[in-house]
């Protein structure tokens, strides 16, 4: 067997860089608690400025005035590993994710399909380049050797005969031993694997756990390496988070192109298509706008997916700034869903709520039908929001009119009866829309109940803000 190891030396960074406009700008990923932020990953242009992995942010700031920072997100790394495994599944039916930040492919059986190794390797590199992932590729007779050699080499292809010599020259610190073992070897002055290999086996066995000799044997292929096989998932989920608020849907097109291309690549790996998928425009506080994209038939051509999605996205009016865009495709045509609704025996007159909503939408237009959610804000005009789907916030325990006017109107009734009030509302200084008003519940001459206010300190001008039913 021959194993190719594809190592992703800066997976977390690539995951961030691929969605940034300017990948050349100095960028670092941060981790650690707020009081001690540490540079977890550093891109090449930041490295050129002297920033290093493991530095504290304080030191980095002392060194370099301007560079961009983003949060290091381990779950993102996990996500992209899954994505890359799905991609690799196209080239080999034996793909393993057992080593972090690396993909192991058994390629012996794929060579007939994808050509001799240098050409196969070239193809892998081209595709990874296009997807935006830095990588190192090593081919070796066993999976562990491929993985370990990738620590120090790129583009290496080793056969059985060359393996012992290649392994022998490996520095001890890069051989994949547990840290305490590596430091024990270093403490004994042993620098290369061949020095350890040359020691009497019995003496090594006396000083170290069995795993050490086993590891060496596995590297040389004397012991088999058991690997878990990757099983592709049956749905796709891609997400891009912005570190700024996106206010217009056109600004979403660049990330959208990324997502649809990732989807297409995933579909190609699974040899299937997509018939409908969902775009989620995520807003602050966990709410999101949904955009559904449906196709007449299963597709997987990236340009077509992008155009279709774009057609649905562009007309969308953003109700709030978008903080992240995600794409979910559950429905992959390998399992064509049973058309259950065709045979349901629902009585004609009773209409499901969803259908009613959709019918109203169809008649009145998408914008005319919306959901309402309460928001925790003392300002009446901000206490509601129109949202497709909002998180439920229980409203304040105060009487509020069912019909709130979007623009207050001057009160034309001259002799209202005050039923309650004044209720003073002073709030909202933080976003430049501070209000200071005194509200009254009044009954107008014609018996209607209105909610009126005057600006605090200016009792001469009353405005109607809402009507009680």
């Amino acid at each position: 067997m021959r194993w190719a190891c594809i190592l992703f030396p800066q997976l977390a960074l690539d995951a961030v860089l691929r969605r940034r406009d300017d990948p050349q700008a100095p960028l670092v990923l941060l981790s650690g608690p707020l009081q001690r932020r540490v540079l977890q990953a550093v891109n090449p242009s930041a490295q050129a400025l002297g920033l290093r992995r493991g530095q504290t942010l304080t030191v980095a700031r002392a060194l370099v005035e301007h560079f961009d920072c983003e949060e290091y997100q381990p779950q993102q790394v996990e996500h992209w590993q899954q994505f890359l495994a799905a991609w690799g599944y196209r080239f080999s039916s034996h793909v393993s994710l057992d080593f972090p930040r690396a993909l192991l492919l058994e390629v012996e059986s794929s060579l007939s399909l994808f050509g001799p190794w240098p050409r196969f390797e070239q193809r892998l590199r081209e595709e990874l380049q296009a997807l935006g992932f830095q990588h190192r590729i090593v081919l070796a007779p066993n999976a562990l050797a491929a993985r370990i050699l990738a620590n120090v080499a790129d583009g290496l292809a080793v056969d059985e005969a060359q393996l012992p010599q290649r392994l022998g020259s490996l520095p001890i610190s890069r051989c994949g031993f547990a840290p305490e073992v590596a430091s024990a070897f270093a403490g004994m002055g042993l620098r290369r694997l061949e020095q350890v290999h040359a020691l009497p086996r019995a003496s090594v066995a006396k000083r170290f756990s069995r795993a050490v000799l086993e590891h060496i044997d596995r590297l040389h292929g004397h012991l088999p390496q058991a690997l878990d096989c990757y099983r592709p998932p049956d749905h796709f989920h891609g997400r891009i988070e912005f570190n700024f608020d996106v206010e217009s849907s056109t600004a979403l097109l660049f990330p959208l192109r990324r997502l649809t291309a990732d989807l297409a690549s995933f579909l190609a790996g699974r040899d299937c298509g997509v018939q409908r998928f969902l775009l989620l425009l995520e807003h602050r506080g966990g709410t999101a706008t949904e955009v559904r994209v449906g196709l007449l038939s299963a597709e997987r051509e990236p340009e077509m997916l992008f155009e279709l999605a774009r057609g649905r996205l562009e007309p969308v009016q953003l109700v709030a700034p978008v903080q992240a865009l995600s794409l979910q495709a559950q429905d992959l045509p390998r399992f064509v869903p049973a058309a259950a609704e065709l045979f349901t025996e629902r009585p004609q007159q009773s209409l499901g709520w969803e259908q009613l909503r959709e019918r109203l939408r169809a008649r009145l237009g998408d914008e005319a039908v919306g959901g309402i959610a309460a928001q925790a804000d003392h300002r009446p005009e901000r206490a509601w929001s129109e949202l497709g789907q909002g998180t439920r916030v229980s409203g304040a325990q105060v009487p509020r009119p069912g019909w709130l006017l979007s623009d207050p109107q001057p009160l034309s009734d001259f002799f209202p009866r005050v039923l309650a009030g004044p209720e003073r509302i002073e709030s909202g200084w933080w976003d430049g829309a501070d209000v200071r008003r005194d509200y009254y519940l009044i009954e107008t001459a014609d018996g209607r109940r209105a909610w009126v206010f005057h600006p605090a300190g200016k009792p001469d001008q009353f405005w109607v803000h809402g009507w009680f039913a």
Binding site: A184, G187, M188, A202, K206, H378, E423, R424, Y439
Partner: protein, 1025 residues
């Protein structure tokens, strides 16, 4: 016509993150509105009540002491103190609630109110459900002392709410009273109140939603406004309650603990007795008349002011330390009295010191005496535990520190509450200096990329500006103890500290003075540990019995050493700034040391005072006095004010202050940076001095100097105590350098230098240093016989990073039984674990048993646990293994990594050829170099300092194999070559060599990072601080 009103429910900013105004603001505003009284009812705390009391006196308005509390699963109420008994009940109630919760929190249980609450009035604050059961429950406990508080804040329907509450009160037969639930003094604080609410809930104001108040009505409203809201009867009721509350904090009476006086004695007679005993001990050959007279005067004054018990309390603690052989030293205005010398509190002999101390306690000003006692830093805990044991936890507790917002913290919290992203919060906070109390200016903000005109940033700056100086939380004072005769919780609530087994009273040290509570400061000082260890070593190895008091005074070689700035490791005068001063000042006697200790401080430098003193001392400037009277004050410092005491004397002599006013000035000096408040003194001083014939210009200069003193100005009494330790440590370094270095390393971490630097300094003084070795080393560093006059220093096992003391002690014990045969023998008899075996091998300590560190590591890894059955049999022989020998560089790197110093060649000597080719001069070469010549130097960066006082200058210390080279990097170079400056471990500097008065340094023109030459070598570097 509006009816009079007393506010009975009002929070100050000591209800942390709730109250948005200080007591001072509240009282000023309440007074303006014509309120009849103001209650301060902070939630479950009396931490702000002393300040409220002072504010009330200043505003001339009555304070009612109280507290708002939430009973666990019960009603919320305001407790108001009617009389002294009520105050004591409130203190113990709050103490109980605080002690059962974690720090900063409280839990008041319903059953706590089953005990007597006499003297406390209660206002019930019904919740929205208006739970009648709560009211009935309270009515049973506060018979005739319970009111229903009606608080109207322009809610949706105040009229209905008033009706409902009055109905509720009528059903329960309770009187109603109006109150305001005041959170701020004026409506203008609404934004700040919203912000701190968000800070309290750890969210942004945008997300705080209904946790914010709907409006800004919770402020001190004017009487006409109140009259429009509340029925007159409810307002009048407030006055009835206010009239019933006649407690004043001035009624508190503190009593000293009785233990310190044996029966049959009064405090005064016992103090006299102890002092006389001490005089016989201090002066076995008889006491001079002068001393007798001084002691007599002091005792009379102490008795007159009633401070006998205070001196006895301190004496008792010091006596305990002496019995335990814990070295200690008192300082402070009262510490350097003849009585304290006789009692053993200080070692400064009033006869030997030819200083003119100010009177140690002033008759006129009612300031409690001030004695701080420093103890060995590693053994202070024993003293603290003794205090708790002797007086019990009920009667002894630590003082609190009310931590207040400084600029960076305020900006940080406000920016977070206003939703600024984390990165920008950091950048914004970085624009403020550390501990600064002022916001960064627009220019500084612009440098960091912020636009001060941006509305969002403007909001942040405004709010942060309001928040600066607000108390944030209580923490424990490092060593300020309050001890009393009665349980402390009858004086002040006691709560838990973050350290387990510590309790803290709710008052800050400043509050104690105002209420007349006495505190003893039990502080920690590393140098005392080192000195005690050094005395022990000398007794053990050199048969020399020395103590602080018996070290020979006025030793010429010691002062010569000091004048050479050969002071690595000694107390106070070892820093770079001090060392630069020493050759210019050339101290010749003890008082010169007192000046030296005080002169290099941020205060005097800012006040432009150091140089005049030096110039005058070196005869470069005539010594003149503005007047004959001031000559007396300033003669000992050549006409230059250096000490707080002198500034006070100056105010008395030249500006006509009374001693009490001068003390006020001293306090304002210490506080003006935080709170301001020097302005009235400026006018007063100037007028006073003009009146007495001093020039306006002189007055202005004096005032500038006073401001410069700030909080750093050093009292002469403290300086004298410090100088004594400085002299003792210098004497030891001069005459017993081996023992002194050994003691310093064993007391580390302390002081300015690392053990590596101390050892290098010792070697340069011809002392032999020996590596750590299991056959010779103890846990501590020890002295061994050597061919030289000074003994050799043997490194202790404590220097091995990560090695534990119990294992070291086992090694020593096993070795004393019988020397080790081999590594296996060592491992077995000392029962060493795998980790410590490796640590020993890596340190080179097994050299004698197993050879170099690589072979040793291989050998210890091969030791197998031996079964008892086979003990005595040697293990079967192993096949030989090819283990390499370490190179010189590998040994050096391992030395640094394990014991932090090397006994092989210094890394720079390994690089010297390389450095020669770059024309680098060594430290030794510089001694011969002409001043003002161009020079290239290189060395390990062992220090980088950017003192706040030297604007923009970075001082870099380079170490090579011969010594330390001081480099000065000016601001523009530092900015141009930031990376080389901050990032280098090995730095090459091109520049100009300067030398004056024995002070040598290199002014950098260009920096080069040579760290690559050193790859792998780690040198700990003292970074900016």
């Amino acid at each position: 016509m509006s009816s009079p009103y007393a506010e009975l429910h009002c929070l100050s900013n000591f209800s942390f993150q709730r109250g948005a105004s200080s007591a001072q603001e509240l009282f000023e505003r309440a007074h303006q509105h014509g309120y009849s009284a103001l209650a301060i009812t902070d939630e479950a705390t009396l931490a702000g009540i002393v300040r409220a009391w002072q504010a009330a006196q200043a505003a001339g308005l009555k304070l009612i002491v109280g507290s708002e509390v939430q009973i666990d699963q019960g009603p919320r109420l305001v407790l108001l103190v009617e009389n002294l008994t009520g105050y004591q009940h409130l203190c113990s109630l709050l103490t109980r609630a605080r002690r059962r919760a974690k720090k900063g929190d409280y839990q008041l249980l319903a059953e706590d109110l089953d005990e007597t609450t006499d003297g406390l009035l209660a206002l019930w604050l019904p919740d929205d459900d208006q739970n009648e059961a709560h009211g009935r429950w309270l009515a049973e406990r506060f018979t005739q002392r319970l009111w229903l508080a009606v608080e109207l804040h322009r809610g949706p329907d105040d009229a209905r709410r008033l009706d409902q509450l009055q109905g509720l009160a009528a059903r329960l037969g309770l009187p109603c009273v109006a109150s305001g639930d005041v959170h701020m003094h004026a409506r203008g604080r609404r934004a700040l109140q919203d912000t701190i609410t968000a800070i309290r809930h750890h969210c942004t104001v945008m997300d705080a939603g209904h946790r914010l108040f709907a409006n800004g009505e919770r402020h001190l409203r004017s009487l006409p406004v109140l009259a429009a809201i509340y029925p007159a009867a409810l307002l009048t009721e407030t006055l009835r309650i206010a009239k019933r509350c006649h407690f004043d904090l001035g009624q508190l009476r503190y009593q000293y603990p009785h233990e310190v006086v044996p029966s049959g004695h009064s405090p005064a007679s016992w103090l006299r007795e102890l002092t006389q005993r001490g005089m016989r001990w201090r002066w076995p050959d008889g006491v001079s008349d002068k001393v007798t007279e001084q002691v007599e005067n002091e005792l009379q004054l102490i008795a007159e002011k009633g401070y006998d018990s205070y001196f006895l309390t301190v004496q008792d603690i010091v006596e305990f330390a002496r019995r335990q052989q814990i070295l200690c030293q008192g300082r402070g205005s009262a510490a350097n009295s003849a009585v304290c010398y006789a009692l053993g509190i200080t070692e400064i002999n009033p006869v030997h010191s030819n200083m003119l101390f100010e009177r140690f306690i002033s008759r006129e000003r009612d300031e409690p005496p001030d004695i701080d006692v420093d103890f060995e830093h590693e053994r202070r805990e024993e003293v603290i535990q003794y205090v708790f044991r002797r007086y019990g936890r009920e009667r002894a507790a630590l003082t609190a520190v009310a931590n207040t917002y400084h600029a960076a913290g305020a900006l940080r919290d406000v920016a977070r509450a206003l939703g600024l992203p984390g990165e920008q919060i950091d950048q914004l906070a970085r624009c403020c200096g550390r501990w600064r109390r002022t916001l960064p200016d627009a220019e500084r903000l612009a440098e960091a990329g912020f636009d001060a005109n941006n509305p969002a940033l403007h909001r942040i700056l405004t709010l942060a500006g309001e928040l600066i100086g607000f108390p944030r939380h209580l923490s424990q004072h490092p060593g300020g103890f309050v001890i009393s005769e009665a349980p402390l919780h009858t004086l002040v609530p006691v709560e838990n500290a973050s350290m387990a087994e510590r309790t803290v009273i709710q008052w800050d040290k400043d509050d104690l003075d105002a209420v007349g509570l006495l505190k003893v400061d039990i502080l920690a000082l590393g140098m005392l540990s080192a000195l005690r260890r050094c005395f022990d070593l000398l007794r053990h190895y050199r048969n020399l019995d020395l103590s602080l008091a018996s070290i020979p005074a006025d030793d010429k070689p010691t002062y010569e050493m000091i004048s050479r700035a050969d002071t690595v490791g000694v107390f106070q005068i070892e820093s770079r700034a001090q060392m630069a001063m020493l050759p210019r000042l050339r101290p010749q006697n003890f008082y010169d040391l007192v000046i030296e200790v005080s002169i290099v401080r941020p205060g005097p430098i800012q006040g432009d005072m150091v140089h005049p003193y030096l110039r005058r001392r070196n005869g470069e400037e005539p010594v003149v006095y503005p007047s004959e009277e001031l000559k007396q004050v300033f003669e000992r410092t050549l006409g230059v004010p250096l000490f707080q005491e002198q500034v006070m004397a100056l105010a008395i002599v030249a500006a006509g202050y009374t001693p009490g006013e001068a003390d006020q000035l001293r306090r304002s000096m210490a506080a003006w940076k935080r709170h301001g408040g020097l302005e009235p003194h400026e006018q007063r001083l100037t007028d006073g001095m003009l009146e007495r014939g001093y020039s306006r210009e002189f007055a202005a200069r004096i005032f500038e100097q006073i401001k410069g003193f700030g909080s750093y100005g050093f009292p002469e009494s403290h300086a004298a105590s410090f100088a004594l330790l400085t002299y003792a440590s210098c004497w030891l370094k001069c005459h017993e350098p081996a023992a002194f270095t050994c003691a310093l390393i064993n007391s580390w971490p302390m002081g300015f230098y690392s053990p590596d630097q101390l050892l290098q300094d010792a070697r340069r003084h011809g002392i032999e240093t020996r590596p750590v070795d299991v056959e010779h080393s103890d846990w501590d560093c020890t002295l061994e016989p050597a061919r030289t006059e000074q003994m050799a220093i043997r490194l202790g096992l404590r220097q091995i990073k990560g090695f534990s003391e119990p294992e070291a002690q086992r090694i020593v014990a096993a070795r004393e039984l019988q020397p080790f045969a081999d590594v296996a023998d060592l491992v077995q008899r000392a029962e060493l674990g795998a980790r410590s075996r490796s640590l020993l091998a890596d340190s080179g300590a097994l050299r004698a048993l197993a050879g170099g560190r690589f072979r040793a590591r291989w050998a210890v890894a091969g030791v197998e646990p031996q079964l008892a059955l086979f003990s005595g049999q040697s293990a079967p022989r192993e096949a030989p293994a090819a283990i390499p020998a370490p190179s010189v560089v590998e040994d050096m790197q391992a030395d640094y990594a394990s014991v932090g110093t090397t006994f092989g060649p210094h890394p720079l000597s390994l690089l010297r050829t390389e450095l020669d080719s770059r024309r680098c001069r060594s430290f030794r070469d510089l001694l011969q170099l002409e001043p003002d010549s161009p020079v290239v130097v290189a060395g390990l960066v062992v220090g980088r300092q950017r003192p706040g006082t030297a604007t923009g200058v970075t001082f870099v210390t380079l170490e090579d194999e011969f010594g330390m080279i001081n480099v000065v990097v000016w601001r523009d170079l530092a900015e141009r070559q930031r990376q080389a400056l901050v990032g280098s471990q090995l730095l090459l500097v091109k520049g100009r060599f300067e030398a004056r008065d024995g002070v040598r340094h290199v002014i950098a023109r260009q920096l080069h990072d040579l760290t690559e030459l050193l790859t792998g070598l780690t040198i700990r570097s003292r970074d900016f601080h």
